[in-house]
């Protein structure tokens, strides 16, 4: 009956090699005894086994679990792994059967090791041990892990502290990193580490980052178990912090607020003199729109999106409301619909920069859905409320023609709710008898699924934009019948 003793350094590969040999030779689990690790290098005392491991395929998930479980301190870990592997050969799906008792036990051990590794990454505390002539610094730590976690965790420290020498000495395996080379030793005595002035600063930090008004000692202990405290410099402060906390909290509540210091007046003066790069553009109307709270929409939007363009523009383009992109950037027509508009505008020679571009409703209306905001059409009441601002923009710009895109803009400008299909391409009368050319909203084109319908609607939209472009460049009067026939 083979008895296997594995080395304490390189245990993972040694176990895998042994398991592969046994599996290839079909040795059942009850015929092998796995001794715990020892210092000896020798693997097997049964020379009958194949010495060169043959290739055996196992699920990747098992390998990653085994590579972790081998570092557990439980002496039964090797036998448990092999007996599960033996069953896995017959039933490959066992890895995904989380209710299986043997797998549950191995997963539990794996969790212990991973937690121990995580705590090692967290709780190793280095002390400065000097600087060599080339300026390379060296550090050392004493640490007491629960499982054999130094070897599998050492690479973490290599990745993190490659520009210094360091050693982590433990009662079990110790790791040494010198001039870029990592090696391990076993069974070392606890070294005498020099005092380190930074440790006092760290304890100062620990004491002051603690809030005595919210004492949760159990939460601390479950994440920072007391078995680690003896090697954590900050842990010495815990008992005093805990016992003094209630009195400190009471004192804060009891003490009457003091009077403000004398410097407050000068601070206020300084504060009011500050300007921000974010404000300053735009005039009175823009500021008034940005401060608007006439309806509930302002409560959820980022900001009001005001119209953009020259005040002397003879063409004004009105959309429905800002979308996600417009709400974030504060600029009208920069989202997907705005891009489609720009594309067609370029095709028909409409210079957007010469027109005043705005929306019928100034705040974005949406429903939050996870990490997205779903556009909601503004209702009649919201559109009515916001007409105040659209009218003000109309009075400020005094365009000769307004291009109303979509039904919300058309309704706001004409008061007429009828469907757009028969109205598009016609000119209606808006506030102060301004001519309003009705067309589709570009977002409507984006939403059309049927390619033929979409092409027809896009062509109609292009025609309307062309008419608006012709108007903007000629400053002439548009004949509605002419547009529809184009």
């Amino acid at each position: 009956m083979p008895h296997v003793v594995l080395p304490r350094i390189g245990t993972d590969t040694a176990w895998r090699d042994a398991a592969r040999c046994f599996l290839a030779a079909s040795v059942p689990p009850d015929r092998i005894t796995w001794g715990d690790t020892s210092g000896q290098k020798g693997l097997f005392d049964d020379p009958a086994l194949p010495s060169a491991p043959t290739a055996v395929t196992v699920p990747r998930a098992f390998l990653s679990m085994a590579n972790c479980v081998v570092w557990h301190s439980d002496p039964s870990r090797f036998a448990r792994l092999y007996s599960f592997l033996w069953r896995l050969k017959q039933h490959p799906h066992l890895m995904s059967d989380r209710g299986d008792a043997e797998l549950a036990r191995l997963r539990h051990m794996e969790k212990n090791v991973r937690r121990c590794q995580h705590k090692m990454k967290a709780f190793v505390r280095f002390r400065d041990t000097g600087t060599d002539s080339s300026g390379r610094r060296s550090f050392a730590a004493w640490f007491e892990p629960t499982h054999h976690t130094v070897e599998p965790t050492a690479q973490f420290f290599v990745r993190r502290f490659a520009d210094m020498d360091w050693q982590i000495v433990t009662p079990d395996i110790s790791a040494f990193f010198q001039n870029g080379q990592l090696h391990f030793k076993q069974d070392l005595e606890r070294p005498d580490l020099p005092e380190d002035a930074s440790e006092a600063l760290w304890v100062t930090y620990f004491r002051n980052i603690f809030n005595p008004a919210r004492l949760k000692v159990q939460a601390m202990k479950s994440e920072m178990p007391q078995k680690y405290w003896k090697n954590l410099p900050e842990a010495a402060a815990i008992s005093e912090l805990v016992s003094a906390a209630p009195a400190r909290a009471r004192e804060m509540a009891r003490n009457a607020p003091t009077l403000p210091p004398a410097r407050v007046a000068s601070i206020r003066a300084q504060q009011s003199a500050n300007t921000s790069a974010w404000t300053g553009d735009g005039g009175e109307l823009e500021d008034a729109i940005r401060a608007c709270d006439r309806c509930a929409l302002h409560k959820n939007a980022t900001q009001a999106v005001v119209g953009v363009g020259p005040r002397q523009a003879n063409l004004m383009i009105v959309g429905e409301q800002p979308g996600d992109a417009e709400d974030l950037s504060g600029l009208p027509f920069v989202g997907p619909a705005g891009k489609l508009f720009d594309e067609i505008a370029v095709q028909v020679g409409l210079d957007r920069n010469k027109a005043f571009v705005t929306n019928a409703v100034k705040h974005f209306k949406f429903l939050p859905r996870g990490r997205k905001r779903i556009h909601q059409r503004p209702d009649a009441g919201e559109t009515e409320h916001c007409k105040w601002w659209l009218d003000a923009e109309l009075r400020a710009v005094r365009p000769s023609l307004v291009l109303a895109m979509g039904s919300t803009a058309a309704f706001s400008l004409t008061g007429n709710k009828r469907g757009l299909k028969e109205r598009r391409g016609t000119i209606e009368s808006g506030p102060g008898c301004v001519s309003v050319l009705i067309t589709y909203h570009p977002a409507y084109l984006l939403h059309l699924q049927d390619p033929a319908t979409r092409a027809a609607a896009t062509a109609a939209f292009r025609t309307d934009l062309q008419a608006a472009a012709a108007f903007a460049s000629s400053e002439g009067v548009v004949d509605a019948k002419e547009i529809r026939s184009v």
Binding site: S96, R98, G99, A104, R125, R127, F139, A141, F156, V158, R159, R160, F161, A162, D163, M164, D196, S198, L201, T204, Y205, F206, N208, I209, F210, N211, P212, A213, R214, L215, V217, A219, M220, M224, L232, E234, L241, A249, M252, A253, N255, P257, T258, R263, V264, R268, Q271, S276, A277, W278, R290, K299, T302, Q303, L328, S329, F366, P368, G370, R371
Partner: protein, 411 residues
């Protein structure tokens, strides 16, 4: 006044920073120092290097650059009208502390915030200088979280995003009205505009150029924010509504809820009671349900008469007790969405159930071995060999979970 030692400054400026709940050091780019020329690494998952007795993890060196401040926010220990001791770190002091702490494996990196000195731009510029020196002079590859000042110039925020892993801007209060009341110098709209700006910059940094080259990453660990709970009268519904708005609008990684805690030399306008820690905890649970369990906001708060979460039981259990007609669910047949709604089941348990039931029928013991907390879940599930019988509809089911009524303190 005698010159302060670095220890005195550290005491003042870490004390001043502790009211910010954010501590995460996770979710950034993977990077390391194996080439030997730099210091530090980032592995994706965060590490908590210590825990304070308040139960909060210490992952980063969380300090203020200075606690001098020209703002006067009533809830803040550093407001201009408070008489706390003031201090200011120099750029080199912060850099040295960060690097020396990091080399001793005390921290994952730096979380730098600051009171506003002189002007928002001047303050942000000093913070950017610290991050710049850490990255470019010390070749520091650890984690940097910069608190962003909403009024600071966009180009400073642009540089901050290239240096830091995470940016955060605190919305401070659950409603605009409360911000105006308690933090008169802050503009809720400007805070949102700054968060929108960070989102847009992060997204445009993700786009490849025509040559296929990626621009430098902008705040790879995203942005987060914090809301103070219990200083104003907002209900949990208001708080969670604000969160859904922030998550959907600005793609925040986290909204931190910070139970308002009494501060030394507090303003007379605030409730100086012990912080509502249980409420904070329930809000985090509800936040998780919204983000990872497919719950809608009105499902969580809709059945609550006063708009606040039940403090005695968790919000999923409260929802399940109010919807008993949907239970018990059959572990062997129910879809994932429904399994996620079983009280006690987390995303891991559900994944294990789904993985295992492909091969065989699950029994009660299987669930125990999977680590499902069956004491809580058993009233809501059926599986081979287990049916809760009348338990699901029993009158006293809530009483089984809620803590026993506490006698009022006489003193």
């Amino acid at each position: 006044m005698a010159k302060m030692t670095i220890e005195q400054k550290l005491a003042i400026l870490s004390d001043a920073a502790k009211y910010d709940a954010s501590c995460a050091s996770s979710g950034s780019d993977k990077r390391d120092s194996r080439a030997g020329k730099s210091l530090g690494s980032n592995e994706g998952s965060g590490i908590c290097h210590a825990y304070a007795p308040d139960g909060r993890c210490i992952s980063l060196l969380k300090i203020l650059m200075t606690n001098f401040c020209i703002y006067d926010c009533s809830y803040c220990i550093n407001r201009s009208s408070s008489n706390v001791a003031r201090a200011r770190f120099s750029v080199d002091e912060v850099v040295q502390l960060t690097v020396e702490f990091y080399r001793r494996n005390y921290i994952e990196g730096l979380f730098l915030s600051s009171g506003i000195i002189r002007s928002p731009d001047a303050t942000m510029l000093d913070m950017v200088r610290i991050a710049r020196k850490l990255r470019h002079v010390e070749n520091f590859r650890g984690y940097i979280h910069l608190k962003t000042i909403p009024d600071a110039a966009p180009e400073l925020i642009a540089e901050a995003g290239l240096l830091a892993d995470r940016l955060s801007i605190n919305v401070e209060m659950p409603t605009d009205a409360s911000v105006k009341q308690y933090a008169p110098e802050k503009s809720p709209q400007q805070i949102r505009r700054a968060m929108a700006d960070v989102r847009l910059r992060k997204e445009s940094a993700g786009d490849r150029s025509f040559s296929g080259k990626r621009p430098p990453r902008f705040a790879p660990a995203g942005q987060s924010t914090q809301m103070i709970i219990g200083a104003d009268a907002s209900t949990d519904t208001t708080v969670l509504h604000q969160s859904t708005r922030l998550y959907s609008g600005y793609r925040l990684k986290r909204v931190y809820y910070s139970a308002f805690s009494p501060i030394p030399d507090a303003s007379a306008r605030l409730p100086l009671i012990s912080p509502p820690l249980q409420r904070e905890h329930r809000l985090y649970q509800a936040d998780w349900l919204l983000r990872f369990y497919g719950f809608e906001l009105n499902e969580i708060t809709g059945h609550r008469p006063d708009g606040n979460l039940d403090l005695d039981i968790d919000p999923k259990l409260a929802w399940a007790l109010a919807h008993r007609d949907l239970f018990p669910v059959d572990i062997n047949r129910a879809p994932r969405e429904l399994l996620l709604r079983v009280p006690g089941f987390g995303t891991k348990t559900v994944k294990r159930v789904l993985g295992t039931r492909r091969h065989r029928t699950l029994r009660y013991d299987d669930l125990v071995r999977m680590g499902a907390p069956m004491k809580k879940a058993r009233a809501f599930v059926t599986c081979a060999g287990w049916t809760p019988g009348g338990l699901t509809d029993s009158e006293n089911l809530r009483a089984r979970f809620a803590p026993p009524p506490e006698q009022m303190s006489l003193f």
